[in-house]
Subunit: 349 residues, 3 copies
């Protein structure tokens, strides 16, 4: 399936420089793209690669357009080439996608009281429990589990083997990837003379529209009230979100992030991979936490925050670690020196 | 389903201050509770919220009882309000729970040689292999896998899509949450001239009574002997326990903790979220490791231990990291200063 | 099933010291092994345990052979006792294994266009989609999902509930453990005025021969080109590999490691548990990264690298953390002292 550049620009905008009749069938990386391929430039360090590129069309920013001179193919100049690539690649993907075939696979176990839209697709070995609702054009892939009274919004897709527990809710156009577990009971225990007593977790998980949840990510249901994931949030793989958290709209977390219970995130927060966020704290709108950083108290102000131990050669680390452990003593020594020097210079006067 | 306060106190103790005929149907958070709700106060910072609370009954400690004066509803005064909440909430949950319906779903594949108690419930698409045993009143939810010779104790519940491998054992009243994998083969390889040679993992996993295991948590089987999880242990989501570990009774680990092979934990150990515990080490009874801390050698003495890099604004972190990497040089400079000062002051005498 | 030591040595080499007719049925740990057991010594600290050992045969190195004098049983002396143990234990495991029974379980849903080798075994509730290929002697355990056009090489085994997405490929003799998700879509989004726009992930995952992938590990498919795992790689549980990574042959990663997108690993790289590797970087052949370390830039040179905060008593850590946060100030104070001292000593001249 080929698209003319004229049609691409008509659909997604941008200034076309080149033959509007040129056709492309999809994207390839800058260094692999050839005839029939679109590609894009976002990283200034790849300008030389762009110069040598043989793609049919190169999507790039005005400033890169000025600097990439040797490249001879067509160009689409746009202020945000990466977003352009995203939209256009989605379009190509839809063109090549197999048609949506609704229906319930005969091996699926769907409770009689569940309401499954006629346009939804339910794969093999899926279980849908009582009073669950599956919206229009949903895809529930093989082996998923949808608990009682759960609600899946229109056009939301659950990949194979997602668990979506009783009473949880997700809005429209969401994607939950394989192995994710939504609405498991959170980690709540009271200690009674050394023995842990379980606190029932009777809240739910409420997920907005356009949310993506990665493979093997877990989001716990709330204790008494709900855990909330707002519209447009993107969660990567193997993330753990504790009970009663609230993740603000359009926030994004990279893989392996852990969030303890009752953490409240503002909107447009971004968390780097494997960062760990403590419980019962608040993170302001627009905060960025670097990968592998540990957040143990609230961050009331927008900005970038970091806290991980820098890597060293192991033998250097061993020495540094010893000094680090004696850092308060080192500071004390500096204090003593300052005192002595003060005395010396005063005496000297 | 409503309960009179008189009945609550008869069942769980505590000193009732208020009308014993008042009725409640369950718990709500301090700031949301209204007529018909119980609530509780454990955090002294919430005393003002308690004063304004409109719950039918407030469970609180004697010292909070003295300080919360404006609240007008009934009170139950007890030394451990959090545990009281846990026990009472469990009771409410049981009252509202759907009745246990035993039976094997027709889509489940249960081997003829497996022994499934008549009172157990086996959900859709479950596989139970040869000679496995499922105890009285167990619930094995949709899509679980129970391997050969595995044994599940009475009243233990496996949520949807748990994998419980061959030969592993769990005691009574346990809970394993969705996506957990018990008894996968551990990471054992010998290196033979640069190539990794697999070491078969022929031990099992032996789990005691009253153990809870979180969603997508993995516990590896032992190499030659067993991995052991003792009674009352609580493991949160996405925890990894390596082969041949032993986790002592009533220990608890928060989400995302990783434990390498052959780590031995005492009793009543608590591990904060995302802490990482090295292998072949021993941790004493009652030790607490803070969230995100790294333990690479044994901890022979009870106490609280911490080791993570404190968070900074990113620009500050960058500067600190440079100094940190040159910390041994900084100490050397302090040493030199001390030497010079010593010479100066001695000369000065 | 017992093996004579003569047969063991004929098969795996080593110098036998003792009665070649002695028989063993398998391995036991040094301190538990008795009549009929083989055991091995690799850790010099366990030499005393070896002296007291009652195994039928002890596998050990020449230097340990000289030092272990009290042990009275047979010995096999070999330069790499751990690899010897691995090979011999594999052999014992095969002897005791249930015979491979090919066939497709009636509850499995295998598309008519899928090509499943006659010698392969497909367990209950497995889904195999269109045009997928399952090689000779493969075992696809209960509840696995194999997407469209996926290819599983000969003698590869997928444990219960593995997800292997469309178009992904694994070679021969691989093992993927329960809950692993191969070929989920990676975390790719462009930001368009504060809203995340999904970038379709149309590459695949290509895995070589003799690869092992742990329980609940996730490997994302590439964006435009493939994510690649080369021959002989061993990945432990709960590892996350981002899109477009390449892991070089015979590399190994311990549990809970996270790898961001487009990280390129050389051959024979070893990564300790819970280490976090940033994206778009390169790690040289033979590099070792310690457990819990954070790698945020390329490592061009072979060696051992470490970077985690050393554990302290919590009260000590609190003090150290304060000094650490003011480390640049401390360095400034040392600088000032050096300056003053220089002035003093110059004045003193």
């Amino acid at each position: 399936m080929f698209i003319r550049l004229a049609d691409l620009v008509a659909r997604f905008g941008g200034q076309l420089k080149g033959d509007p009749r040129t056709q492309v069938s999809g994207f390839a990386p800058l260094d692999e793209a050839g005839e029939g391929h679109a590609t894009f430039l976002t990283n200034p360090r790849l300008r030389r690669q762009a110069d040598a590129c043989r793609a049919a069309v190169l999507i790039l920013s005005p400033s890169d357009d000025d600097r990439v001179s040797a490249y001879a193919g067509a160009r689409i100049v746009t202020p945000n080439p990466y977003a352009y690539f995203a939209y256009a690649a989605q379009y190509f993907q839809q063109l090549h996608a197999a048609p949506h075939v609704p229906g319930i696979h005969p091996s699926a176990c769907v409770d009689d009281t569940a309401r499954v839209a006629g346009s939804a697709r339910i794969g093999p070995h899926v279980t849908v429990e009582a009073h669950a609702e599956i919206g229009e054009n949903c895809v529930i892939d093989a082996g998923c589990f949808i608990g009682k009274n759960a609600r899946i919004g229109a056009e939301t897709r659950l990949q194979a083997r997602v668990v979506f527990h009783a009473g949880c809710v997700i809005g429209a156009r969401g994607e939950i990837r394989s192995g994710a577990v939504i609405g498991s009971e959170g980690f709540g225990f009271a200690n009674d003379k050394g023995v842990w007593v379980k606190i029932p977790q009777t809240g739910g998980v409420v997920i907005g529209d356009d949310v993506q949840i990665g493979a093997n990510t877990t989001i716990d249901r709330g204790t008494l009230s709900d855990t909330i994931i707002e519209d447009g949030v993107k969660l990567d793989n193997q993330i753990q979100i504790g009970h009663n958290c609230r993740v603000g709209a359009h926030s994004a977390m990279a893989g392996c992030v852990g969030v303890a219970g009752s953490a409240i995130f503002g909107r447009h927060v971004t968390i780097g991979g494997a960062a760990m966020i403590g419980g019962h704290l608040t993170i302001a709108d627009g905060v960025h936490v670097s990968a592998s950083s540990v957040v143990q108290s609230s961050i009331p102000e927008k900005g970038a925050y970091t806290g991980f131990y820098p890597l060293e050669k192991h033998t250097d680390w061993e020495k540094t670690a010893v000094v680090l452990r004696n850092l308060t003593a080192l500071r004390q020594r500096v204090k003593e020196l300052e005192k002595t020097i003060r005395l010396l210079t005063e005496t000297g006067k």
